[in-house]
């Protein structure tokens, strides 16, 4: 009997160890970045993190509560000589209570997260948002920047070809001023709208620090992703949807710079128009 007791003490210690692991990880300095989310670097990312922390404390609380009660029961009601189990088929009032309470909590959580989803993350981008085109292909990304208007002009995924990799519509004068880049250079604190196209299979646009993820579907244009970078620095854009043998290394550099630095970069880019190497032609 003693052996059993020790076993459950051991189990409790193990569980507490893991819980402690995640809690202490939370308290650890963010600079180490070993156990917790990377520092957020976009405006709406802060709100996503708030929701995540809310869920973290909610689920953490539920976990501790249920496991403490469970382990207490397991120790208290271990089989002992001469003591018979309580005969009970259940309790309808209890069933009712533990159906209603989780239902209310989950509905509330849905309300909170859905508000964020529809009213914060997926609102229409501001009028002054700069459009940037992103083409994903096996295995890399190319970016297209607009002329001074900040708008890319019309495009159609059906027009995508080796010569016209972003599928720009030549009849729209706006597209004439667009230029291409291999790096995603972004001005800080400016709204950016991303137009996503894929040339072959499904890829994804994932920047963990921005809390942004969107699959890129071939044959379609997805233009609802927008964000405001809030921290100067360099990040990595990663493909996060299995796209073939080179998927593991499909990434691009993201540079968030001050407005002055961005303007300087932009001028240099515009001067010799579109002399960037095109992505390797599709082999079929």
């Amino acid at each position: 009997m003693k052996w059993f007791k020790n076993r459950w003490v051991f189990l409790a210690v193990t569980l507490l160890f893991f819980l402690g692991l995640s809690l202490s990880a939370h308290a650890a300095p963010r600079t180490s970045n070993l156990w917790w989310v990377p520092d957020v670097a976009s405006a709406h990312g802060k709100q996503i993190d708030q929701l995540m922390y809310f869920i973290y404390y909610l689920t953490g609380g539920v976990f501790v509560l249920t496991q403490v009660v469970y382990i207490y029961f397991l120790v208290k009601y271990r089989s002992r000589k001469g003591i018979k189990a309580i005969y009970s088929h259940g309790n309808n009032r209890l069933e009712f209570v533990w159906t209603i309470i989780p239902t209310l909590i989950f509905l509330g959580l849905w309300g909170y997260s859905n508000h964020l989803w529809l009213n914060v993350i997926h609102t229409d981008p501001p009028e002054d948002a700069m459009e940037i085109g992103t083409l994903a292909y096996q295995f890399g990304f190319s970016f297209q920047y607009p002329g001074p208007s900040g708008k890319l002009g019309r495009s159609d995924p059906k027009l995508i070809s080796n010569e016209n990799i972003f599928g720009n519509d030549p009849s729209d004068p706006l597209t004439k001023q667009n230029f291409q880049s291999g790096v995603l250079e972004l001005p800080v604190n400016k709204p950016i709208q991303i137009r996503l196209n894929s040339r072959d299979v499904i890829h994804a646009f994932y920047i963990p620090e921005f809390r942004v993820y969107q699959d890129i579907i071939p044959g379609r244009t997805i233009n609802w992703v927008w964000f405001i970078p809030t921290k100067i620095g360099s990040y990595q854009l990663a493909c996060n949807q299995l796209c073939g043998s080179g998927h593991y290394n499909m990434k691009a550099q993201v540079q968030v710079v001050s407005q002055q630095d961005f303007d300087k970069w932009y001028k240099e880019k515009v001067a010799p128009p579109a002399n960037n190497p095109a992505p390797p032609a599709r082999t079929k």
Binding site: A85, Y87, L107, S245
Partner: protein
Amino acid sequence: MAQTIAHVAPEEAHEHHAHHPELSFFNKYIWSEDHKTIGMQYLFASLFFLLIGGLLAMGVRFQLAFPNVPVPLIGHLLPSWLVTPEGAIQPAGYNGLFTMHATVMVFLVIMPLLIGVFGNFLIPLKIGAPDMAFPWFNALSFWLFLLSGIVILSSFFVPSGFPASGWTSYAPLSSHANYNGTQWGQSLWCVGLFINGLASIAGAMNYITTIINMRAPGMTMFRLPLPVWALFITAFLLLLAVPVLSAAAALLFFDLNFGTTFFASSNYGQPLLWQHLFWFFGHPEVYIMMLPAMGLVSEIIAVNSRKPVFGYKAMVWAMGAIAFLGFIVWGHHMFVSGMNLLLSATFSFSTMLIAVPSAIKTFNWMGTVWGGSVRYTTAMCFALAFVSMFVIGGLSGIYMAATPVDIFIHHTYFIVAHIHYVLFGGSLFGVFGGIYFWFPKMFGRMMNEFWGKVHFALAFIFFNCTFFPMHNLGLNGMMRRIADPTQYDHLRSQQPVNVFISISAFMLGLSTIPFLINFFYSMFKGPKAPKNPWQSTTLEWTVPSPPGHGNFEKTPTVYHGPYEYSVPGVDLDYLPQDQPAPETARIEAH
């Protein structure tokens, strides 16, 4: 494999059942139509596949901890599509490894272990029937299953090897040979899953018919043991969900080989169609792999707590609710896939709702333990661990149900942690518990409890060391399905965590050894099992271990519900279902 089950044949079967003609070797062990033999066939086949799936996982973990390091010992023996000339796993081969790990574990291990093994073995015994309704279909189901496993695994030997577009096989990567580079492997995957689907459909039809038509007198629906209820509901899920996957696999095969464009991005095809079809099957599939384990665990906990299941009817209704809601949550796999954003909001709603019956079940398991007289057998340890692991897996699911948080952690290691807490800490722990619990009935011998507990302790510790830190990796933004995390700036500092996880995973793999030794040794040398070693109430414990052909000497009559433990006024602390309650007993209605 068929030979290894020779000893299953019970000598006493023929004494009790002289009316059954002597069967030829072929009809007894190979094309057997006895549900118990078919259950054993499933058990040996899927344990074999478990080893293969586990080895594939070891390959995955080796690559993640030590990218570009030659695989020790066997590196130079592996085919060129998998490794470099130096013997290190190459990225395309790595994609094949995790694709096959998941495919094998889902279709050839967890499903057959839960449904093929326990469904076949337990349903007739627990409802008091001599066999399944359609024994011939039952045998067919097993051999189709085995064939599907052989077809899927044969991709190891074809040019360019394993399919490599993930077990989800998203089109158009999977549907164009020039995108995936594995036309042979991917085609075999489609054919294999199609055959596997036929096996599931044949089995499901059989279970439903058997449970509806062949219950012993007095065995009303609400006197069915919970594993039978779970398998009954699961059979409906299989019948409704699996044909969708079979159809989708057939369309994918046409796209891949005959140039049709169902899932293409041009010519009126639609890549998202594949995802809708796949997840319309794929989410009920999650519950197909969960409900039977819940049923087994409910029973193991009740028997070993010496108490009736707390809220038996609530447990049944909760499973029904999970099954129903399970069909309208598939879109939560597609929040970031380019689906309509309002649709995401709807799927988020149904996903939050499906958490409620899961919570109800957890509370009822805790209620069952409450006030009990808990015996810590190995089976019970696994069942109790199942509850805790299921709580972790369920709670981490809430992060993904909240669409904004899902944006961040979708397709990271957070979801890899989540799925393994549900499928390994959940389903597979349930299976282990079930094997330790029903082994005496299956083979007529007892397993060794000490080595069972060694297995449990190692599996529990190393399971958590392997999968818990994956939550942290995911929060840090580590993508799933990448062959080399050190390629990314934000993941390089994480590499020590990956090494820790991999070493734990190797230990978790090794923890299967005491189980396998215990399993095979006990089968031949274990102490003989009595009829009812766990003092259990359900019908399978009223017949000899192992039961003879035809199961029951005469059809039992059932007098009360399945879990009458510690009934006041009864001398023993259990009241078998086929024994009328004594006058003194004060049975409560449930």
